[in-house]
């Protein structure tokens, strides 16, 4: 059976860069099975972008009533009261950003330190198990982190970090003001930090390993100590990639749901103290979505989902582009 000219044209895609023609030369000449194969694979490949835009469309449509009703006020409004019909998402946006930034503050130095330790310093018999351990950390389900957070991390933080700090500096620093609740922005940031360290350190390690040997040897030959070599030569070379890794970690932290819902306290206020409870966008979805009865509440929650989606798309795209650029430069 010969394809009609239109079919052949669609398959070949016209341009010389068309993947169908380049990858499956037989598409143009004969073999029906190969043509079917090319179409099938193309359909599977297309399924992913289609699914992606369908998710965007579907969540967007569901959020439409809230978008229409509140407009930009949704993002800056700080009163969230489903009973009164007031929906302002600022406390959640604030909580998500605050906990994620706190997590980065803790996680980035640790992750970069770990990456340096693994690539520059440790012998293989230490590096392999440590690297495997961090991989396992990345595999632990979020809800298990949450369980551990509630029963171990939060009580420990309250007794050993929050209460001493609050009684010592609480009056002079508003960030450390009491009372020490335990479940707080700080606990959220801490659990997120533990969860994203493996991601940041894994990518940082790859980037550090991609720094050419000549650079290190040249630095050592000029009389640099090992630390000077690392700090002044290796790290500057790897900085764009480490920034990419950090942004990837940020993307994880922003969208993290279960663990942080269990330890952040879930109070829709904008806290001024690290020791006070907050709320995140993902948490309010987890807690209120199944109880939302009226249409506006549901639409408002959908809009929060849409904002969260948008932020993570943006953050992940930037991170991917950065990491790719560095990888391409290292490959040349």
């Amino acid at each position: 059976m010969q394809p009609t000219p239109e079919q052949a044209g669609v398959l070949a895609g016209g341009g010389p860069r068309s993947w169908v023609r380049r990858v499956f030369p037989s598409v143009r000449h004969g073999n029906l099975a190969d043509r079917a194969y090319a179409i099938t694979l193309g359909a599977f490949g297309a399924a992913i972008p289609i699914l992606f835009f369908f998710i965007l469309l579907r969540v967007g449509t569901a959020a439409w009533p809230a978008l229409q009703r509140f407009g930009g006020g949704f993002i800056v409004g700080s009163d969230w009261n489903p009973v009164a019909g007031n929906y302002g998402a600022l406390p959640f946006i604030f909580g998500t950003l605050a906990s994620s930034l706190l997590a980065l503050l803790i996680a980035v130095p640790l992750a970069v330190g770990l990456a340096i330790f693994l690539t520059e310093l440790s012998p293989r018999w230490i590096a392999a198990p440590v690297a495997f351990g961090t991989e396992l950390l990345a595999a632990i389900p979020s809800v298990v982190y949450g369980l551990w957070g509630i029963f171990v991390l939060v009580p420990w933080l309250r007794a050993n970090v929050q209460q001493p700090l609050a009684s010592a500096f609480g009056d002079s620093f508003p960030l450390f003001a009491g009372p020490a609740y335990g479940t707080s922005i700080m606990a959220g940031g801490a659990i997120l930090a533990i969860m994203i360290v493996p991601f940041i350190s894994a990518v940082s390690r790859e980037v550090l390993a991609a720094v050419p040997r000549d650079q290190r040897e040249a630095a050592l030959a000029l009389g640099a100590t090992r630390w000077e070599m690392t700090w002044q030569v290796v790290l500057p070379y790897a900085v764009p990639g480490i920034i990419g890794a950090t942004i990837l970690g940020l993307g994880r932290a922003l969208g993290e749901t279960m663990a942080i819902t269990m330890v952040i306290g879930n109070r829709p206020d904008i806290p001024t103290s690290l020791f006070a409870p907050g709320y995140t966008m993902a948490s309010v979805l987890a807690n209120e979505f199944s109880e939302a009865s009226d249409e506006l509440h549901l639409a408002a929650l959908m809009e929060i989902g849409l904002i969260l989606f948008g932020i993570t798309i943006l953050v992940n795209s930037v991170a991917r582009l950065l990491v790719w650029r560095v990888a391409r430069r290292a490959g040349k």
């Binding site: 190969d34 599977f44 520059e120 551990w148 993307g251 199944s290």
Partner: protein, 289 residues
């Protein structure tokens, strides 16, 4: 050079060397601090979880509040069903798309699909939950295992797609060329020669991805919902281990906390067991070439 003087290291040299030692030691401390939580989590899970693990734990449904005993048998069954559904819905698409990415490597279409796949991998799981709610649950009119399976499949697809692509690309060109030179068609070369050669690598990726979706909670909250009783019908709400852990952990009952710890231990054993197996026993023969 005739004259060479050996001087004692100046204070500046000494300072530089001390700085080096101290800072490098700090990276060691950072390494310790990152591994510490893993040790602590495993320790607490073992200590609190092992006592609740008995025969009933695996075969019974949760006891009513106030009564001792009970188990998470329904959650274990539910998670198995949900992961199975996720695999059935997700794996064909993921492996097909992975093959597409590997075959069409370098083309603009493949780059675009790869980029979107990576971005999709970063979509928060809770967003996938509300999407599947708006799509499947609303159109069916009720929560169901089916909806939960769809949500898990969407989590699975980007992970397996990228592993499949990478594993297929590791297969040496000569194998593919050999097949074509023998007169095989494209599709037979790929499905009969390249795919089997990449099989163990893909299998590893699939196992790791399945273990990961088995631990997902957020996408199931508004899709599979959870169910305190035995449930195996696909169009009804179904229990899931991670959802049970969440509900028990935030409940005020001591007995339920115990079940949550034990269920977490079980989940971790599953996830870590699969990761270890995948890492130790299944290796792509072409890795590292």
């Amino acid at each position: 050079m005739n004259t060479q003087t050996v001087t004692a290291p100046s204070w500046r040299d000494r300072r530089r060397r001390t700085t080096s030692t101290v800072m490098l030691a700090m990276t060691g401390v950072a390494a310790l601090l990152t591994v510490l939580p893993l040790v602590l989590i495993l320790w607490h899970l073992l200590r609190a979880g092992i006592t609740a693990m008995n025969g009933d734990f695996f075969t019974e449904i949760p006891a009513p509040v106030g009564e001792p005993g009970g188990g998470v048998g329904n959650g274990i069954l539910g998670t198995a069903i949900l992961v199975g559904l996720g695999a059935v819905f997700g794996l064909p698409v993921a492996i097909g798309a992975g093959l597409f990415l590997a075959e069409a490597e370098g083309s603009r279409a493949a780059n675009a699909v790869r980029f979107i796949t990576d971005v999709m991998n970063g979509i928060p799981s809770i967003v996938i939950g509300i999407f599947v709610w708006a799509w499947v649950v609303v159109s069916m009119g009720h929560f169901s295992a089916l909806a939960g399976g769809v949500a898990l499949a969407i989590m699975l697809i980007p992970m397996v797609t990228r592993t499949t692509e990478e594993m297929v690309r590791l297969v040496p060109r000569e194998l593919r060329d050999g097949g074509l030179a023998l007169g095989f068609t494209r599709w037979r070369t790929t499905l009969g020669i390249v795919l089997p050669a990449a099989r163990s690598g893909i299998l590893t990726g699939v196992l790791v991805a399945l273990a990961r979706i088995a631990g997902e909670t957020a996408p199931l909250l508004f899709t599979a919902l959870g169910n305190p009783f035995w449930g195996w019908k696909l169009d009804e709400p179904i229990a899931a281990l991670p959802v049970q852990i969440f509900q028990y952990a935030i409940s005020p009952y001591e007995e339920w906390h115990r079940l949550a710890w034990a269920a977490s231990l079980l989940l971790i054993a599953l996830v870590l067991g699969v990761s270890l197996t995948a890492r130790l026993f299944i290796r792509s023969p072409y890795k590292g070439r």
